[in-house]
């Protein structure tokens, strides 16, 4: 009798032991599977971005050597202006300070590198930031970057809207004297890879918002006063 009880107990202990080990290995394997899922998910994201990066771009005429912006003027002091065509604060900046900057350029005091980047593609349903920036590249190719940028800001669409259509972008181009080559470049999205390059390089240079203004490489408040003071 006592041996039978002992046997029963022993076999239960063995069963418990087996069950515990089974549970442990199951937990181990589900954990391994879950970690694998998380790691693979992360790698997918990395892979997608790495494959997007490889795109080569054509910089339009008038671009600076590394292709990160369009240079206007030849003055000794360099002003860098990072702007997004749908950003309301950039529209404000253009309205309030644009003329002053044009004057600095025409007086030969400063040269300006415009970086038309696309941070705010999410602010329109049609990636207006990228399309407008690419169109401004096409305008630079036609020698009318500044005129075109001003016209775009004058007709700036609201955030959250669909933005201007490609046809409207082309129409604005015609209004500042751009022709068929410009229209074709806009339709083909010829300078979209360039926009991606401009955007990426700006981020790499520590630009996290628009408008960002730098005079001689140093951040300056985007106001007429601050810029005039920095240019000296």
């Amino acid at each position: 009798m006592s041996t039978r009880v002992g046997q029963k107990q022993a076999s239960r202990m063995v069963r418990d032991q087996i069950a515990r080990e089974k549970r442990r290995s199951r937990t181990l394997w589900t954990s391994v599977a879950a970690v694998a899922v998380l790691v693979i998910a992360g790698l997918i994201g990395w892979g997608v971005v790495a494959s997007q990066d490889s795109g080569s771009y054509i910089a339009p005429a008038g671009a600076v050597e590394n292709g990160t912006g369009i240079k206007v003027g030849t003055g000794p002091v360099q002003i860098d202006i990072y702007e997004d065509f749908i950003c309301p604060a950039c529209g404000q900046f253009e309205k309030q300070t644009g003329a002053t900057i044009d004057q600095l350029v025409s007086e030969g005091k400063a040269s300006v590198v415009y970086h038309p980047l696309a941070f705010l593609d999410r602010a329109s349903s049609t990636q207006y930031s990228t399309r407008a920036s690419a169109a401004s590249g096409a305008a630079a190719e036609g020698g009318k970057f500044r005129e075109y940028a001003k016209a775009l800001f004058a007709q700036q669409p609201a955030e959250g809207s669909a933005g201007l259509s490609d046809d409207q972008l082309i129409e604005i181009g015609r209004s500042v004297g751009l022709g068929d080559a410009f229209a074709q470049a806009v339709r083909d999205g010829k300078y979209k890879p360039w926009t991606a390059h401009v955007t990426d390089e700006a981020s790499g240079d520590g630009v996290t918002g628009t408008p960002t203004v730098r005079v001689g490489g140093k951040d300056v408040q985007p106001t007429t006063q601050a810029i005039l003071a920095a240019v000296g």
Binding site: R26, G45, W46, F119, R122, T208
Partner: protein, 171 residues
């Protein structure tokens, strides 16, 4: 883990009620946290470059690293959401969730402490705030601490109703 109420319970009804309610409450917590991750990941996955810029705006790592983190993060968030949704390796998923949330809270806190003017980018957008916008670090941190509480609940009580974990258990 066997939970037995051997010693004379102080208040039997409330204890057993808790025992009945807890797994169901846990299911709500699990699904809630799953929804948080899926919404957060889903909002970012369409603009990976933007997600990288949002990470870069915290100004704690080189841009090239921020790009990689920003690209990987939405997918990891989605995967975490799916694990929690189906209830696979719930405790592990809760642990990773808690770790991520601690990182987020730390990131926002350091941005606040350094006086950066950024949007946390928690549910898409992110990056520098425009002129006239002020950051809302306090509410962002409180929200993340709320999510952290959900993750903590699942870390302590990972067994909930209707998960794959217990289905595997029966096999």
């Amino acid at each position: 883990m066997n939970v037995t109420v051997a010693s004379p319970p102080v208040s039997p009804t409330s204890v057993s009620r808790w025992h009945i309610a807890r797994p169901w409450l846990g299911t709500l917590v699990r699904l809630g946290l799953a929804a948080v991750w899926i919404v957060a990941g889903g909002a970012k996955v369409g603009d990976l470059a933007g997600s990288g810029r949002a990470v870069n705006a915290y100004d704690v790592m080189p841009y090239d690293l921020a790009k990689v983190i920003g690209a990987a993060l939405p997918f990891v968030e989605l995967a975490l959401g799916v694990l929690l949704l189906v209830g696979l390796a719930t405790r592990l998923a809760a642990g990773v969730s808690a770790a991520l949330l601690v990182v987020f809270v730390t990131g926002i806190t350091q941005a606040w402490a350094r006086g950066l003017q950024i949007d946390c980018g928690c549910f898409g957008s992110g990056g520098q705030l425009g002129a006239g916008q002020s950051p809302s670090y306090g509410p962002e941190i409180l929200r993340d601490l709320g999510f952290l509480a959900l993750a903590g609940f699942l870390l302590i009580w990972p067994l909930t109703r209707l998960p794959i974990d217990s289905w595997l258990e029966k096999k």
